[in-house]
Every structure is written in structure tokens, then in C-alpha cells.
């Protein structure tokens, strides 16, 4: 079991494409990943800092009309409110489009897949009307910027990002003995602290208890995200005194951001974190129950490198178990959508030309039908990983419908199914798919059958 370009593109990349050669080697994959992020430069997504309209602006324009007397000024405010709300909805779709375009135009599909992986690991939702368009900017700031860096940096970026601070209620957590707490009341909210330990670092069943959760929650007080200023460390809300997390004491009399950073950095390289993350990466990319030796190799690398992500990825890619020929994973809906477009040879330009309405109706809506509504997982634990969570009767019906109907909306004319089967599955497609592609009554059904085949949905 060794590196294979076709398998590399299917299992670790965005999917085979008639326009892009699959990766030539692990070295080539790593060189691309650690090189410049050309896809992001070509199809930009704003940072939370440059998001326009900002959550603050949307909020202000939402509330402005209420305070004005009836008249032209109020009408103008109402108009701005409507306009901003419309922009928020549009931006969610535009960011989706940019995400897909990056994958369509790139030979660095591994980067796009890792982006989806980490965005799911640090799940946030823009739950209020003013934050809905801030999820992709969060991914940009936290994930994309640290994808090829250290886990500690990504963790710190996530834990201090306004979207995360709001999503997991950290912004309303106040140290009871802080100046704010003494004057205005309020209390600790443990949500972010718990999820950092349970989801982001040590993992469920990790070596922590409720006291660690509480102590970390106290340490995190002061992290706030006022709409106007974005992320702010508010010392007046920080619980004074030191806190002990997993037996290590952080901070002293004066609360400071560097203590929080120190605690997160320690968590990032904790052995339980190394194990949890090695398992999670291998589970996502290779198999729902990954080879223990593969996990051990990645875990070891994590510990030795202090959580430097590229070397951990490389440990995965260099392990023979990563190249087992059996395709044990099922593409999640977003990966399935992207791989389908890539197989059809849709270029980023053709994709953009299809227009936002078609993108919404033919891609964003079907994602929800397939069980993965764009950027709205049920909870902070993100999307399920197991194949059988995605291949249910209901979601299967949606996948078949997608396969049969999507292509004609993005490609004209449709490819010849007899050739398409090779574009989609490589030079050695399974004979039953070749048979179905040849036996179909119509071109659209032939193309649809290839996309609907288990061989194409698995990776």
C-alpha cells in the first residue's frame, strides 16, 4: 500500500478533474500546502475585520428605524436596514461560492479538504441575524490562516474570535469577583471552557473533570466580543487570582491574556489532545475506524513536533495504512457536491457564470436535503463522521436526485457518460459503473448514474 495519485486526489483532495492533474507525490502535496495560498488570493473571503457590512453595522441599522419619528429619515433607515439584511443573506451565498470556486480551480485540494475539516472541528454558527455572514470569515481568520501552522495558534485564534465567543456564550461570562461582577452581577458561563476541553483539545472522556472546566472557565473570563470593537480582553470582567487547569496554575493577581494563551498552548500539546486529534484526522480522511498504527504514528509526530500541523499531516500521508485501496469513507455532502462539479469539469468561471440563484437552488438547497445544511450543524460537535450517518434513505434519495438533476444546470452540453466515467473515477473505474454509464437510456441518466454510484460517493 503506497502513494497513488488517483487515490490521493479522491481520498485527500477535492476529487478528480479533467482540468487538473492529481498530485504526483506526498512531497508535491506538502510543497503545495506549505506554499502560498493561491486559491484564497484568487477567490477572497473577507476577515471579520473587513466584513462589510460588519455585524456591528447590521445591528445598528437593524435598530435605527425604531428610534426615529415617521418621515423621510426613518424611511431611509428602513431602506438601509433592508439593504443590510439582504447583503447578509447574499454574503453567506457568496462565501459559499468562493469556497467552492477555490476547490474547483485548485490542484491543492488537500488544503480545501483540511479547511472543511478544521472548520468542522471548530464549529461555530452565526445564530443571530447580524452574525450569519460571519462564519466564513471565522474560517478564514482561524482555519485558513493557521492550516499549515501550529495547532496552538489555531486554537488560540478560535478561542478568541468574536464569532466563537458569541456562539459559545463566552461574551456573557463574568468573573463574580471581578470589578464588573462586583458592580453589575453576572456570572461564569462554562460553555466555551467545556467545549475547549471536550471537543477542541482533550476529547470526550479525556483526563479532566468538572473542576478543570470551572477553572478554565474562570481563566477565560475577560474574553469578550462587543459588536462595536470585536474581540476584546476586558480585564474588568476577568476573575482575579490564579486558576489551576489539569494541575497547572495560570495567572496571578492581575488577569492577562498571556495566561489564557499559556493554558491553551499547554492544552494543544497535551498527550490526550495529540491522541484525540490524531484519531480525528485519521477518522476523517482514512476510515471510520482507523488503523491503530496510523493513529499512533500521527500522535507521536504531534507530540514530538509540539502540534505542528504539516508534519502531522505528512505522517498520515507517509503511512501505508493511509493508502489502503478499500474506500471506507463516504464523501460528506459538501465534498460530494465539490467532487461532482470537479468531475464535470466545471471551472470557477463557469461556476460564477451560473449565477447565485442557480447556485442556491442546485447546490445550497440540495446540501440541506442531503443532511448538511450549509454552515448550520446541530451543535458545536459539528457533523457526524460515520458513513451510515450520511447514507440514510432520506439523504440517499437527495443524493440520487442531486446526481440526476444538478449536472445539466452547470454543464452544457453534458459529457458523454462513456467518457465521463473515466473523468470521475480515474483510468480504472469499476466495471459495473462502466456498464451503467453505457447502458443508460439518456445522457443525463448516464452522467447521473456515475455520480450516484457508490464508487463515486466513496473515497
Amino acid at each position: 500500500m503506497a502513494f497513488d495519485p488517483i487515490l490521493a486526489e479522491i481520498r485527500f483532495g477535492a476529487g478528480l478533474s479533467p482540468h487538473h492533474a492529481p498530485p504526483a507525490s506526498v512531497d508535491a502535496m506538502m510543497a503545495q500546502l506549505t506554499g502560498p495560498d493561491t486559491a484564497a488570493r484568487r477567490f477572497p473571503i473577507p476577515s471579520i475585520e473587513t466584513l462589510d457590512p460588519s455585524p456591528f453595522e447590521v445591528r445598528r441599522s437593524n435598530m435605527a428605524p425604531k428610534d426615529l419619528p415617521e418621515g423621510p429619515e426613518r424611511d431611509a433607515a428602513e431602506e438601509l436596514k433592508r439593504e443590510n439584511r439582504r447583503r447578509v443573506r447574499e454574503l453567506v451565498q457568496e462565501h459559499f461560492a468562493a469556497t467552492v470556486q477555490r476547490a474547483l480551480g485548485s490542484e491543492d485540494g488537500f488544503r480545501e479538504r483540511l479547511t472543511l475539516f478544521w472548520a468542522d472541528h471548530f464549529t461555530v454558527r452565526g445564530e443571530t441575524a447580524v452574525m450569519r455572514h460571519a462564519v466564513s470569515p471565522f474560517v478564514e481568520d482561524v482555519v485558513r490562516a493557521n492550516l499549515a501552522g501550529t495547532f496552538a495558534d489555531m486554537l488560540y485564534a478560535a478561542a478568541t474570535h468574536p464569532v466563537m465567543l458569541r456562539y459559545l456564550d463566552q461574551h456573557s461570562s463574568v468573573g463574580p469577583n471581578s470589578r464588573d461582577g462586583q458592580r453589575r452581577g453576572g456570572g461564569i458561563n462554562e460553555n466555551l471552557a467545556r467545549e475547549i476541553l471536550e471537543l477542541h483539545t482533550l476529547g470526550v472522556g479525556g483526563p479532566y473533570d468538572q473542576t478543570d472546566v470551572r477553572q478554565l472557565a474562570e481563566l477565560l473570563t475577560g474574553l469578550t466580543a462587543p459588536y462595536r470593537n470585536g474581540f476584546t480582553f476586558r480585564e474588568r470582567a476577568a476573575e482575579p487570582g490564579s486558576e489551576t487547569v489539569l494541575g497547572v496554575s495560570y495567572g496571578g493577581a492581575d488577569a492577562s491574556l498571556s495566561d489564557i494563551r499559556a493554558a491553551l498552548s499547554d492544552l494543544a500539546v497535551h498527550p490526550a489532545t495529540a491522541r484525540h486529534m490524531a484519531t480525528k484526522l485519521a477518522t476523517h480522511f482514512v476510515a471510520d475506524t482507523p488503523d491503530p498504527d496510523l493513529v499512533a504514528a500521527m500522535e507521536q509526530t504531534w507530540l514530538e513536533s509540539g502540534g505542528r500541523l504539516p508534519v502531522v499531516y505528512e505522517a498520515m500521508l507517509r503511512h501505508p495504512a493511509a493508502w489502503a485501496p478499500e474506500r471506507r469513507k463516504v464523501r460528506q455532502p459538501i465534498g460530494y457536491v465539490i467532487a461532482s462539479l470537479r468531475a464535470l469539469g466545471v471551472t470557477p468561471e463557469q461556476f460564477a457564470a451560473a449565477g447565485i440563484v442557480r447556485i442556491r437552488q442546485r447546490l445550497i438547497n440540495p446540501l440541506a436535503d442531503m443532511g448538511q445544511p450549509w454552515q448550520t450543524p446541530t451543535g458545536p460537535d459539528g457533523w457526524p463522521e460515520a458513513a451510515d450517518a450520511w447514507v440514510t434513505p432520506q439523504f440517499m434519495a437527495a443524493r440520487i436526485n442531486f446526481a440526476m438533476t444538478m449536472p445539466r444546470h452547470f454543464v452544457d452540453p453534458l459529457p458523454d457518460p462513456r467518457a465521463f466515467v473515466f473523468d470521475a473515477l480515474g483510468p480504472e473505474p469499476p466495471p459495473d459503473v462502466v456498464f451503467a454509464a453505457n447502458a443508460a437510456e439518456t445522457v443525463f441518466e448516464g452522467v447521473g448514474l456515475v455520480l450516484a454510484s457508490a464508487a463515486f460517493q466513496r473515497r
Binding site: E190, D381, P393, Q394, A436, E445, L449, A452, A454
Partner: protein, 387 residues
């Protein structure tokens, strides 16, 4: 031929019995428990005070000058139900409809729909506990003999209430799968050697065919997407399914509530009537419970609507319940009786009623309810919800 038997038995068996692990002869033979439970989540915060009006409370009319304008349908000497629920009057008279008043989840003082619904579906005392499954799923974990088909989540949303370790099924009745016979055969061929894909697609094709079949019958009560949810629920419950859950939206009535609540009430009453009609004999062993994330303000607001509040109402229906009555302790609507001076004071946890229902329907031990299904709930005295 009995239509239901054909749809559930014939339709599914013909297409996929051999392939599907969900529909085995064993599953048909060994239904472990017989009662049916339907949980409808009313999203958007239903105004309990409008739906079940405490007209006997002397403060009610003054709190609701425009909303109480149109006369309700008298239920007893104290309560009247909203006039748009008139189609349900026969159900009330037959003792198959009941309400519970002045109930709420433990959610207090914050007024987010998302959080409120998460808490309702998680069935937990608070949102910080990190519990990720829903209470109906935890029910499935404590009763024996559960198959994936035993519990059905219906509609496009992933229902948190059914999320968790126990396997459940889901289907959105508006899903259509129209394939030419040749394509269907080729798909079968393509999936033949992949058990996961083979079973899921066989079930998908069979269920979609069932639904298409019942579309053509089209003799139901009302119509529309929401009624389809109830129709599909009844189809499943007449077979191997014991628990079904779906949600109805449209309850967030901040403005001109007299108008805006009508559609939601119509959908709700259509759903209940559809369930009764389509379930036939099974209705007699069915309990339907409708719950919402929180109530609405006791006073109507400046735009003749109501805002997010605390205490509210719960609706129950079904041949199994002891209906024709309004359960609950009435707290009063005087200023001093209101929660925080603005909301109906909850006098009991909505989870206590749901807990008693599960106890009575399925014989779940009280301790299992208090520890596993609704951790921290106090079941309290038996309201005797069932006949």
C-alpha cells in the same frame, strides 16, 4: 384492500424486504410495545394564553384588549380555546384533546428561540451541561427492543429531540424520487455489492413510492407541507413505528397576532385531524403532545402581538389520553402573580408532563425518567394523563 396495509406492508415488502435491515420479518413479529407517541415541536414560541384562554381570570381581558376580542370556544367554566381551533371541538367533546397550562421548560430570562428550542429538545435543566442528545433518543436508549424504524424524525430538519446513540429513522415527505424503471434497475445493480448504499437506496425508493401512492389518494384533511408531515407520521405509526416527531413553525407572533397565528393554528388542527383520520384504530392507543420553547408576554404589545415570555401551554391529543380537560395549576394573571411582572408564571415543568406520559405509555420507570431521560426533573404527583 385496506389502503394502509397495502402501503406499509405490501409496498415496502415488495421492494426491499430482502435488502433492508429495517424491515425484517422479525421486526414485524415482535413489536415490543404497542402505544404510539407523537411529539410535535411548535417552533417560534406558541402563545399559550391565546390558544387556551383563561377567560375566567378577571385580568385576562384587560391584558389582551385586541387579542381576546374574537370570542373563543368555551372549554369549561374558566377556559376557552382559540376560535381557529373550532375543527378540534369534536375531538375535545370526545375526550381526545387536552391542554396543560402554565408550564415551561427550565429556560428563564433569556429569550432566544434557538437556545429555547435546544433546551426543549435536549430536555436538560440548562444548556451548559454539554449534553448533545435529545430526550426522545434517550427514551429509545432505556426501552428494550428498539429498531431503527421504531422512532421516526419527519421533515427536513435534523430534530435534536431524536438525536443520539439510539438508531432512528428520518424522512422528509416532500422528497420525491422519480426514476425511470431502467435507471432504477441500473442503480440497484450499482449498489448491489455495497450493503450500506444498497439498503439505504432500496428503502428510499420504497418510501418515496409509498408517499407518491398516498399523494394520489389525496382524500385527507387539509393539505400542504405540514399536513404531509402528519400523513407520513400516521403511515409509519400504523406500521412498525412507535414514536414520531416533527415540528410546526409560525408561532412567533410579534405583530397583528390575530392574523398571524391563524395559519399556525390551522396547520396544527389539520395535523391533529389528519393523524386521527389516518391512524384509524391505532388512534386509540396514540398520544400526541405538542410543546413549544417558551410562552409569550401576558400583555399584548403595541403592535397587537405578543413578545417572548416564559410560561405557556402544551397540547395533547389522541385516543389514549384522558382529554376534555385542562391540566395544570393556574397561577393567576394579577401583576403580582406574573413572572417578572410580565409573563405567565410557570407552575410546573413541561418535562414533568412529558415524563408521566412516557411512564404511562411505555412503562418507563420513574427513576429512568428522572435520571436518564430528563435529568433533574421532578416528576411530582401523577396528573393521570391517560385513560
Amino acid at each position: 384492500m385496506d389502503r394502509r396495509k397495502f402501503l406499509i406492508g405490501g409496498g415496502l415488502l415488495g421492494c426491499s424486504a430482502a435488502a433492508s435491515p429495517l424491515i425484517t420479518p422479525v421486526a414485524f413479529a415482535s413489536a415490543p410495545w404497542d402505544a404510539r407517541l407523537v411529539v410535535i415541536v411548535l417552533r417560534g414560541a406558541m402563545d399559550g394564553l391565546d390558544v387556551v384562554r383563561p377567560v375566567g381570570d378577571r385580568h385576562f381581558a384587560e391584558l389582551r384588549p385586541s387579542l381576546a376580542d374574537e370570542r373563543g370556544i368555551p372549554l369549561d367554566s374558566f377556559y376557552a380555546m382559540h376560535p381557529r381551533l373550532e375543527p378540534l371541538a369534536p375531538m375535545w367533546d370526545a375526550g381526545e384533546l387536552a391542554f396543560v397550562h402554565a408550564v415551561s421548560t427550565p429556560y428563564r430570562d433569556k429569550r432566544s428561540h434557538f437556545d429555547g428550542q435546544d433546551l426543549l429538545e435536549a430536555g436538560m435543566p440548562d444548556l451548559e451541561s454539554g449534553v448533545r442528545d435529545g430526550w426522545l433518543n434517550r427514551l429509545m436508549q432505556v426501552v428494550p427492543g428498539v429498531e431503527a424504524e421504531t422512532a421516526y424524525s419527519i421533515g427536513r430538519e435534523r430534530m435534536l429531540i431524536l438525536r443520539g446513540a439510539a438508531r432512528t429513522s428520518s424522512w422528509a415527505p416532500d422528497t420525491r424520487l422519480e426514476l425511470s424503471p431502467a435507471t432504477e434497475q441500473l442503480l440497484e445493480h450499482l449498489y448491489h455489492d455495497d450493503v450500506l448504499f444498497r439498503d439505504a437506496s432500496a428503502d428510499a425508493i420504497a418510501i418515496a413510492a409509498d408517499v407518491a401512492e398516498s399523494d394520489e389518494m389525496g382524500d385527507g384533511v387539509g393539505n400542504g407541507r405540514n399536513v404531509d408531515l402528519a400523513r407520513f407520521a400516521a403511515q409509519r405509526l400504523a406500521g412498525e413505528t412507535r414514536i414520531a416527531s416533527f415540528s410546526l413553525g409560525g408561532w412567533d407572533t410579534h405583530n397583528r397576532q390575530q392574523r398571524s397565528i391563524r395559519r399556525a393554528l390551522r396547520d396544527l388542527s389539520d395535523c391533529l385531524l389528519t393523524l386521527k383520520q389516518d391512524l384509524g384504530d391505532v388512534w386509540g392507543k396514540t398520544a400526541v403532545v405538542c410543546m413549544t420553547e417558551f410562552g409569550r408576554t401576558a400583555r399584548e404589545n403595541g403592535s397587537r402581538g405578543t413578545d417572548h415570555g416564559t410560561g405557556g401551554a402544551m397540547i395533547m391529543a389522541g385516543g389514549a389520553i384522558r382529554g376534555g380537560r385542562v391540566y395544570g395549576d393556574w397561577p393567576g394573571l394579577a401583576d403580582r402573580d406574573l413572572y417578572a411582572g410580565r409573563d405567565l408564571m410557570p407552575t410546573r415543568d413541561v418535562r414533568a408532563y412529558a415524563g408521566w406520559l412516557m411512564r404511562d405509555l411505555f412503562g418507563v420507570a420513574g427513576s429512568a425518567v428522572e435520571q436518564a431521560i430528563f435529568p433533574g426533573v421532578e416528576l411530582g404527583g401523577d396528573p393521570r394523563l391517560l385513560l
